[in-house]
Assembly symmetry: C2
Homo-oligomer: 503 residues x 2
Amino acid sequence: MLERIRLESLREKVTTAEDAVKIIKDGMVVGSSGFTKAGDSKAILAALAERGKTENIQVTLMTGASLGHGIDGKLADANVLKKRMPFQADPILRNKINNGEILFIDQHLSESAELLHTKNLQNIDVAVIEAAYIERDGSIVPTTSVGNSVTFAALAKKVIIEINTEVPEEVYGIHDIYQAEDYPYRNVIPIVAPWNKIGRKSIPLDPNKVEAIVFTNKKDSPADITEPDHKTTAIAKHIIEFFENEVQLKRLTDRLLPLQAGIGKVANAVLTGFKDSNFYDLTMFSEVLQDSTFDLIDSGKLSFASASSITVSAECYERVLGNLSKYREKFVLRPQNISNTPGLIRRLGVIAINTAIEFDIYGNVNSTHIGGTKIMNGIGGSGDFARNAYLSIFVTQAASKENKISHVLPMVSHTDHTEHDVDILVTDIGLADLRGLAPRERAQKIIDNCVHPDYKEELQSYFDRACERGGHTPHLLEESFSWHLRFSETGSMKKKTTEEVYN
Amino acid sequence: MLERIRLESLREKVTTAEDAVKIIKDGMVVGSSGFTKAGDSKAILAALAERGKTENIQVTLMTGASLGHGIDGKLADANVLKKRMPFQADPILRNKINNGEILFIDQHLSESAELLHTKNLQNIDVAVIEAAYIERDGSIVPTTSVGNSVTFAALAKKVIIEINTEVPEEVYGIHDIYQAEDYPYRNVIPIVAPWNKIGRKSIPLDPNKVEAIVFTNKKDSPADITEPDHKTTAIAKHIIEFFENEVQLKRLTDRLLPLQAGIGKVANAVLTGFKDSNFYDLTMFSEVLQDSTFDLIDSGKLSFASASSITVSAECYERVLGNLSKYREKFVLRPQNISNTPGLIRRLGVIAINTAIEFDIYGNVNSTHIGGTKIMNGIGGSGDFARNAYLSIFVTQAASKENKISHVLPMVSHTDHTEHDVDILVTDIGLADLRGLAPRERAQKIIDNCVHPDYKEELQSYFDRACERGGHTPHLLEESFSWHLRFSETGSMKKKTTEEVYN
């Protein structure tokens, strides 16, 4: 075990999680590794949750993105979290945020590191970083994600390292660690293709800041893999057909352009759909690599994938970490302020596919808030990608909960992505290509192609009546949220009789 | 005059505007120079409007941004415009857009050229470009703006050039003409400081595409310069004090970082405010240079300004174009897909100051739509800058029209900038620094600092009652637009008695 601390002077820092966690004091800002459940702290944050059960301690916790092993829930339950950023996906934490018990800052994932470096956020007191091992120079070889760890290591006053012996030391080389210079001397980020590696293989760290090292041997929480259902399959089919048509029209080649896919079953279904297509030599410039990425690599369809984390099933985790000699030339993990940076997304011409909670007739997208008030997870990287993508695609099911909820609405109850940033909308019903269309044209196309039949007539009626009143973006403000309000009151967005509601 | 056509073979193309405009046919897409009234077509678009009076002809018109000399209104009046993009600021055109007679696409100004190059928009049939003169190689030396002219010249099937003899040939060298490569072979844009010049001095053009050349001698429409009033002065004071405090806290130096300022009197007031400050060696990385820019250059406060156009008063127009030897090392005009590109804005750490129509308690900003439906001008470059800026500042007056309108509201009626992209909000009442704050904290800060006293109590009540119902972003959807609706019904957002409305 100790040989994983190659800088021998650091070996004396090895301790237990219970001991190490004492470094964290009430009121501190903690920066922890972890990006969509990958490469997170398994020991220190768990020990912090334990402390919270018997002690009044509250911290601000920043991470890369969401954490695994229910740790956000345990921290929330133990009342340890005062403020959390930039992303979460935990049901217990979510409830406490929505109750107003815990403050949450929902940030573009490319921006958190920027905000720390520019002192626009409070500085990190203690960084907690999962490592495969520590290099002779004290630098850290991270594990299955990079996230914001480079920034946390650079800016934190004190650092706790968790060496996870479940992760083979052979991960050395799968990371590309690069940080932009400070203002006003910032230079270009010299990436012009997803496979460009421009940085170090380990995270630089001043060894004098290392206050404790703990050993763990726990795998990442596995991703929940659900088989595609008829809706996700339909969405994936619409998208693949759209790409095929773009190739026909010579707007894209059958190599497409680098793909970004948000997390979840639709993204997995779309990527899986490429397996039986004529597309080849595909690449990804994304934030998370899921099972489907490695399946596409195995099938020879995908040449290279760039992201900030690997979030996969237990089977895929073994497959990838057990065959790094096979996969290491096929992917790279970067800091999230590189994987998600606007300039690179535009420079590479990324095709971005992200999930909406709901969208409206003009193509504004709500990715985060149920009923306009209750947060689900957070905006994540969707804004980084959608705004700067070559093509920005959003997907959602047309209706859900026995069709009592329509996901295509007169007006979104919360706006994460404005119509300016949305090119293509897809539901299981169909695809609306909104490029080159003015708002009124967008509305008709969305009503024609995307809305569930149960809601089509009423949505058309809303739009027609709004147009009568006029405006570049016609709306009836007194009625814009009537579907949401009806759902709150009756449990259904439908205007129809009770009989029809339960059909 | 003819010596302004240095490629002699093109001299035979000289003709009248009436003759040249015949190249434009019904249904075509026309791309014209012109960015915020600078460097626009003076002859051809006017001749097109004339044709429209007696002929059924409708075109899609793309420009850099807004046009001068009321030409958008004349074209709209003559029923010549089918579709217009990416920006406008004309009262007649605006009305026709809001009536649904003319379609308008409101685009981030950095994106139009991208969308054309990637074939995500219909291609340009005819480009109309104002020039100072034509070089020996057929390339065009533009005038007071660059806008989208480089893209129009590259992609249009046919080109009409307007040589404006009002503009001295000495403008040669004030432009930096650079275009990114096509996908997937795009390289870095090698600008790391506002003063970097990376391109040619003229717009490349295949002379075979030139179908007509017309001569004009008309100045740009002058900018409307209004003296700062007590509100704009108050807003400017809050912002300058904020900067001074950032310097105190060592988050900024007294050189600040490159400034972007939206068009209008607040931006002018803020820049003017620097004249009597301790800041020095300031720079701009903006889209429009206004009078205040040149005043700051004259006062020695501003070292360099980068933008896509010069939109100034008649006096300042003479001063700048008549003294190019003095000013030419102090500023540069770039294509708008360079001046506004997200990657550069983030790389340079721009401080962005833009104007809001209204903002809400969470810091979402409406920059475009009156009452949620009627467009004013368009989003322009505000989204390019706000999203990627080091600091994103939005300003508006707290209340207007005898305080019958509050510009700080429970919920914006249209979202152009989400709370993720808004750091600082300023009204004449005060400034709210929202960095590092969760939504509920943002709301309280905005209510405390920005709202007009007449509306403070009711806004606090809305927020408090929304919080009781819960949520990460508490709202009462049934009441969110009640202030807008009250204004439609009563002519005032105030809940109070008629007596108080007229106080």
